[in-house]
Amino acid sequence: MSGHHISSAKFLWGIGIALFFLTFVTVAVTWIQIPEPWNIVVAIGIAVVKALLVVLFFMNLYWDSKFNSLLFIFSLIFFGLMIGITLLDTLFRNDPTPLF
């Protein structure tokens, strides 16, 4: 049965500690100034790893039915489309300026 995975307490604590550690890392990297745009990439990268840990092992998606994963991925895809296509407008506006 896909839905009843029981994680060991040790395992859950392991994930928790990994999350604490990554939180510390993401704060720590702001002390060493990483140049634009890599600081954003690093910050988001760490956040993505943390979110993945939560989703896969706290929310048990790793052991869950494939369709639930599909749902989750779809929500991210549509969020990506929403932001991506909106940026096609907001980043490429070319406004005229009056001569007088």
């Binding site: 506006r93 406004d95 005229p96 300026t97 009056p98 001569l99 007088f100």
Partner: protein, 313 residues
């Protein structure tokens, strides 16, 4: 068919109107063929295969991949043609020639102001030369408006925080209507203007002489002209009827009740203030929606308007 399409469209009075109309006709004709074809097929089937008895046995025709591909690919080709055609004309519509004559357009609720390079300002009438590209740089003072001239097949929203532009090259002398097509409140449907297309010389004459000065007229007549030119009558009637704003008739000398309960005398100073800073003292029961005319009207013009209002008893 051609006559129907001609009937459907307003007269084409700009250089790019023809191209737009051609695509309009193309889509209309091909849609027409499709709609008639499919409808007739449908009706024919409905008649030819009508139920004869409740025990009718129908053949098992569950799918046909060749058909599916055919009726996917043919429309696909057609829409790609339409898309490319539409896009190429659109690119022309948004790329003004570099030598275009520039006019500043300001949309306010609910009038259009046109500023020319010599400092002239005209309200609700745009004067342009014939056969010369004209580029309008537009902005709004309040909400979103949209500048639309059907005869030229151009339209562009007028935004409060940015400049937008349209351009056209009028091919015929005469007048065309400008509409506001982005809903902007009470008098949205009265936010009209007229484009006057002159010959090059007439346009230059107009630019030098008029600009709507009328300085040589007696003050009352000049005031009346200004009230018309500046679209005051969109909101203020001269016959006592209630529009978006209070009427001018009988206003002079009266006590104007304000929203806060106070009253103020309708005198020279009140008129002057109301023109330059319209929302400082708003008549009770009316919305604070009037745009400011500071920079549009000078003191002499305001004097003339005051003289005119005095006559409306």
């Amino acid at each position: 068919m051609n006559r129907l399409i001609e009937y459907m469209l307003p007269p084409a009075k700009s250089t790019l109107a023809g191209e737009t109309d051609a695509l309009f006709a193309f889509i209309n004709i091909s849609s027409f063929i499709f709609i008639i074809g499919i409808t007739l097929t449908m009706l024919y089937f409905a008649w030819r295969y009508r139920r004869k008895s409740d025990d009718d046995v129908t053949p098992v025709i569950s799918h046909n991949n060749i058909l599916e591909i055919t009726w996917s690919v043919i429309p696909l080709i057609l829409v790609i043609i339409v898309f490319s055609w539409g896009y190429s004309t659109y690119m022309k519509k948004i790329s003004p020639p570099s030598d275009a004559y520039e006019v500043r357009v300001v949309g306010k609720s609910w009038l259009w102001e046109f500023h020319y390079d010599n400092g002239n300002v005209s309200v609700n009438e745009l004067h342009v030369p014939e056969n010369r590209p004209v580029k309008l740089i537009m902005s709004s003072d309040d909400v979103i408006h949209s500048f639309y001239v059907p005869d030229f097949r151009v339209k562009m929203d007028v935004l409060p925080n940015r400049y937008t532009s349209v351009w056209f090259e009028a091919t015929e002398q005469g007048e065309s209507t400008v509409y506001c097509t982005e809903y902007c409140g009470t008098a949205h449907s009265n936010m009209l203007a007229t484009v006057h297309v002159h010959s090059q010389e007439d346009f230059e004459d107009w630019l030098e002489t008029s600009g709507g000065s009328g300085e040589d007229l007696p003050p009352v007549e000049r005031g009346e002209m200004l009230v018309q030119q500046n679209a005051c009558m969109t909101c203020h009637s001269t016959d006592g009827s209630r529009l978006t704003g209070p009427t001018f008739q009988g206003a002079w000398g009266s006590d104007v009740p304000l929203e806060n309960g106070e009253t103020v005398q309708f005198d020279e100073n009140y008129v002057r203030e109301s023109i330059l800073e319209p929302n400082a003292k708003v008549h009770q029961g009316f919305q604070p929606v009037m745009p400011s005319y500071a920079g549009t009207l000078d003191d002499r013009q305001i004097d003339a308007i005051i003289e005119y209002i005095k006559t409306l008893q």
